[in-house]
Amino acid sequence: MSELLQQYQCPGCGYCYGEAEGDDHEGYPPGFAFAELPDDFVCPDCAVRYKEDFLVVGSG
């Protein structure tokens, strides 16, 4: 399963959402899929970029 987990990066500020680790501060547990993030998700660090702006930058 782990090979399916991806890392997504904000193209503006570089914040990374890794599906393997989730984001504890934001309340997304390890394994929480990027696709499952709410549609109105914005970058937690810069709030400039929307969910659809994020780029896949690797797996894990």
Binding site: D24, H25, E26, C46, V48
Partner: protein
């Protein structure tokens, strides 16, 4: 004077010297301005000295902006990582935090022990409120950073003006909604600062609480918990301000009330002028376009930028909110203010003067060119603005008003 350099394959040897490097220490003087009044009063016995800090802020400040003029210097992008890693710059933001505490407590002691005349009490308290309003600016710079130390320092310094919810509301709310009718912290054309304050202050608190509530719900943590980052800062405020009441008695109540309200007012003033009337387009998918540089007003004035950690290079801040103050850039052809924030605050406090200066600037912006469809308009003033400047279609304005 330190020079940064790098060798690159494309541009060769690139160097950059920050000519403002030493001058950034002025940011440390900003929180201390009220102490000038205390020192003068202590040395001469004249309470008139307690009015001097307000003169320094609102007469000397715009004067020095006018005298020293503007600075359009930018660091080369390739050297920004070096500039951002230079500990000197962040040390200044760290040092500003205890200085806000020093001034706040020193002023509390002075008004609590010196038996001041009512006008001197108010003058010094208002000056301390304005000085500690700039604690919100320090909290702003720190609160945008990713290190635990800096976010904690933001919470600690925001406790002085009792505005701990600011960095939550600002980072996750204002930056998301900026320059839209949805944002309580973006002023609308035709809206006076006094009207804006009644929308902005409660709106900021509501949005911060809602955002933190949502985050804690996702974590499965009760909202009334020590993990609540709004409450963390408020707890420090309660300890600090109740401690002052315990130490100096009930005279602290009017002091704290006036101090806190004026500190909030400083933020209201900054928010009011930073995005007045500017509007992001709504896309076909119902979302707003990403924040662009032309969605913020800017000032390049040296003096006020040095005191405010480059806050006035606001377009680059909104495009790149995690960028450190020393790296923020000037861009040509951006919405620009005629003078720095200190002067513009005074203009904002006289609505007729504000509208006269700023409505003309707003309508003349290259991306607006008098098109009212591209302006964030106060719905209550819509008819009057349309009658005066009307080049927008009623349909477009109705659509805009309907999602307010």
């Amino acid at each position: 004077m330190k020079t940064y350099s790098i060798d690159t394959p494309d541009a060769g040897h690139v160097t950059y010297t920050d000519h403002k490097r030493g001058w950034w220490m002025l940011s440390l003087a900003n929180p201390l301005i009220p102490l000038v009044g205390i020192a003068g009063h202590g040395l001469t016995g004249s309470q008139l000295w307690l009015l001097v800090p307000l003169v320094m802020m609102f007469i000397m400040g715009p004067g020095l902006d006018w005298l020293f003029g503007e600075d359009e210097n930018n660091p080369p992008e390739v050297l920004v990582p070096q500039l951002e890693n230079d500990a000197y710059y962040r040390l200044l933001t760290y040092l500003t935090v205890p200085l806000h505490y020093l001034t706040f407590i020193a002023v509390a002691i002075w008004v609590g022990t010196q038996g001041l005349s009512w006008w001197a009490f108010i003058g010094l308290t208002v000056a301390a409120g304005f000085a500690d309003g700039f604690a919100i600016n320090t909290g702003h710079e720190l609160g945008h950073k990713r290190t635990k130390l800096e976010t904690w320092l933001a919470k600690i310094v925001l406790a002085v003006p009792a505005y701990g919810h600011f960095w939550i509301e600002h980072n996750r709310g204002h930056h998301r909604d900026v320059a839209t009718p949805d944002d309580p912290a973006s002023a609308r054309m035709g809206e006076s600062i006094y009207h804006f304050a009644r929308r902005e202050i409660p709106g900021a608190f509501d949005r911060a609480w809602m955002l933190e509530h949502e985050r804690l719900c996702r974590k499965g943590v009760p909202v009334w918990s020590l993990q609540n980052e709004v409450l963390q800062s408020y707890i420090i405020t309660v300890v600090l301000q109740v401690g002052l009441i315990a130490a100096f008695g009930w005279i602290m109540l009017p002091f704290l009330l006036i101090h806190n309200v004026f500190a909030w007012w400083v933020l209201t003033s900054a928010n009011y002028i930073e995005h007045y009337g500017l509007l992001r387009d709504k896309q076909p998918d119902g979302k707003y376009e990403r924040c662009q540089p032309h969605h913020s007003w800017n000032a390049n004035h040296k003096y006020s930028n040095l005191l405010l950690f480059h806050l006035q290079r606001h377009s680059d801040h909104h495009a790149n909110p995690t960028r450190r103050y020393q790296s923020l850039r000037h861009f040509p052809d951006l919405p620009s203010l005629p003078i720095g924030y200190y002067g513009m605050y005074v203009v904002a406090y006289i609505p007729a003067l504000w509208f006269k200066i700023m409505d003309a600037r707003l309508l003349a912006l290259p991306h607006i060119k008098g098109d009212l469809n591209k302006i964030n308009i106060d719905p209550a003033k819509r008819d009057a603005i349309l009658a005066r400047y009307g080049r927008a279609s009623d349909d477009a304005l109705s659509a805009q008003a309907s999602h307010v």
